[in-house]
């Protein structure tokens, strides 16, 4: 499985990862090698096999819809790089928007 440079760049965009030139080259080689390794799973015929969703029995968990104490706002925001009036401040979401 040979991964192209364009594929590496596309996946990096999907994953929101800014990569250096060296990283792109290294990942192109690593991804190709590792995806070739996992291709061995295709030796197995799994057409009749049910995929594992959970290894132990799981059931939906419900609780009463009652309000409970939560963390104070200042503690929730204490690790945020930018805060304004009790909110997270983020970069512009739409093109041309103000920071």
């Amino acid at each position: 499985m040979k991964i192209t440079r364009a594929e590496v760049e596309h996946i990096a965009t999907l994953a929101r990862l800014e990569l250096t030139e060296t990283e792109i080259e290294q990942l192109q080689s690593d991804l190709s090698q590792i995806l070739e390794y996992v291709d061995q799973l295709n030796e197995l015929d799994t057409t009749q096999v049910v995929p594992t969703a959970h290894v132990v029995p799981q059931e939906d968990v419900l609780r009463e819809d009652v309000t409970r104490p939560s963390l104070p706002t200042e503690e929730v925001l204490s690790n945020a790089p930018q805060v304004e009036e009790g909110y997270f401040r983020v970069h512009a979401v739409l093109p041309g928007g103000e920071r």
Partner: protein
């Protein structure tokens, strides 16, 4: 007296009878950290003030007759479990300055029981690795030979226990991250059944595989810590509601009536000869203790690594999407829009190994590839689990073999060959894919380096796993040996 060398149960007896205080015990552990950690580097953060304050409170509890098994006992916690007010880095630059506003359920539970936090231990970044060399900060050294790795990703926890820099530690295990470092450092490491211990407040890696568990100096300590950690937690929707027995009630010296399965596939190519011999000796010991030993087959063993790759990387790429530099963690103030801010923060904050796994996981989940990779892996996962179901249905109580195919390797030896590093996990991965309880205990040495023996049980049969491990351990003296450091 060298108090830091005590096990949890030995220290508890001395605390309860007031022969020692928790402050004395804690000071002894902190002194050992001062002596050894410049060389071992097991800790990212040491917390002497918190430890001594908790020790003083523990001594008051003990004085009023309220000592539980962990009251006043020093513990080290892997740096991927949230500790309120204490930095929790996950071994990553992206969380280097993160101070959690809440504690993980396991941390709360240990603190309620009176345990004493001495520090947060080093780990491969986001628990991705088998050597602790992928820590963004520094590698940890194996106490048995400092040019060697301690294993990973809970390498700091394993090294701290082995070097008596704590009485016990918590680790997390996604593909062997408790058991493999326990094996390489010569301590006991236990991964409970999936769902047995709450994951609330554990920084997620691969959510269908992650479990928290103890690293200890002997099996009795594993049972004692499991008594504190195993309960239903409503804050974790996958937390099991099965009843929890007193795990120490399983610690007997007799194994008659138990059937031990030995898969031929666990002694395949790539297993170091000396490791194979020590593990064969250990299996012989189980026979002497009354167990019936039976050869079995795990026909899908050769596919576990590829299945684990696809499962864990896909889940990791989704879990790590939360590190966007907006709410916490490293940010990129020089960016112009939100997309660039996220890409820059993640590009700068994640290390090479984490990026590699995010890229692979994103690829495996991307449009057009989901069926071929992630879904295929979940189908093969079913086949791997069925290998175990079959063995258990045929009367096998525990499955045994080597924990790691090799003893501790040299620092730097495998770091540039990711595929070779990943293959070090081939015997530990099945327990995660099938959700089974599994322990590694020391079973001897090869040229001064510890060898680990792995025991795997039915779902929620942690008691049986601990029973076999304890009976074996008590028939040997490997767990009593200490590395040549800080004596």
């Amino acid at each position: 007296m060298t108090l830091h060398r005590l096990t949890v149960h030995e220290a508890h007896e001395l605390l309860r009878s007031r022969e020692i205080s928790s402050v004395e015990l804690t000071q002894s552990v902190l002194a050992q950290i001062d002596r050894c950690d410049e060389q071992i580097r097991a800790y990212i953060t040491v917390t002497p003030e918190i430890a001594l304050e908790q020790a003083r409170r523990a001594d008051q509890r003990i004085a009023s007759g309220e000592a539980g098994p962990l009251t006043g006992i020093p513990v080290a916690i892997k740096d991927n479990m949230c500790t309120r007010g204490v930095p929790t880095t996950c071994g990553s630059r992206i969380l280097e300055n993160f101070v959690p506003p809440y504690s993980a359920t396991v941390v709360e539970r240990l603190f309620e029981g009176g345990a004493v936090l001495v520090g947060k231990t080093n780990m491969d970044e986001f628990a991705m690795g088998s050597s602790t060399e992928y820590s963004a900060f520094f590698p940890t050294h194996n106490p048995w030979e400092s040019s060697r790795v301690p294993g990973g990703s809970s390498g700091g926890s394993a090294a701290a226990v082995a070097a008596d820099e704590t009485l016990f530690a918590l680790g997390s295990d996604t593909g062997g991250s408790i058991r493999q470092p326990a094996a390489l450092c010569g301590v006991a490491g236990f991964k409970p059944s999936y769902g047995r211990v709450s994951r609330y407040g554990l920084i997620a890696f691969a959510s269908s595989l992650d479990q928290i568990g103890p690293l200890t100096k002997d099996v009795r300590d594993c049972a004692l810590v499991m008594n504190a950690l195993a309960f239903h937690d409503p804050l974790d929707s996958t937390s099991a509601s099965e009843p929890t027995p007193d795990y120490t009630s399983y610690l007997r010296d007799d194994l008659s009536g138990l059937v031990v399965g030995v898969p031929s596939e666990y002694f395949a190519e790539g297993l170091q000869a000396a490791v194979g011999e020590r593990v064969r000796d250990a299996i012989g010991k189980l026979g002497e203790l009354g167990a019936q030993v039976r050869e079995i087959s795990m026909p899908h063993e050769e596919y576990v690594v590829a299945t684990y790759f696809l499962t864990s990387w896909a889940e990791a790429s989704a879990n790590l999407a939360r590190y966007d530099g907006l709410k916490y963690g490293l940010s990129a103030p020089d960016a112009h829009d939100i997309h660039e801010a996220q890409s820059k923060a993640r590009g700068r904050g994640f290390g090479t190994e984490v990026k590699r796994r995010i890229m692979l996981g994103t690829y495996a989940l991307s449009s057009g590839y989901y069926d071929a990779y992630y879904l295929k892996a979940q189908k093969v996962r079913t086949l791997i689990k069925e290998d175990f179901d079959r063995a258990f249905a045929e009367g096998v109580d525990v499955v045994v073999g080597p924990t790691s195919p090799i003893v501790a390797f040299g620092i730097g030896e495998k770091v540039d060959d990711p595929l070779e590093m990943y293959l070090a996990d081939l015997y530990t991965i099945p327990a995660n894919l099938a959700g089974l309880p599994c322990i590694s205990v020391p079973c001897g040495f090869d040229d001064g380096l510890p060898v680990g023996f792995q025991i795997l049980g039915r779902p929620f049969a942690e008691g049986t796993v601990l029973q076999v491990a304890h009976a074996y351990e008590q028939s040997t003296d490997f767990h009593l040996q200490r590395p040549p450091i800080g004596l």
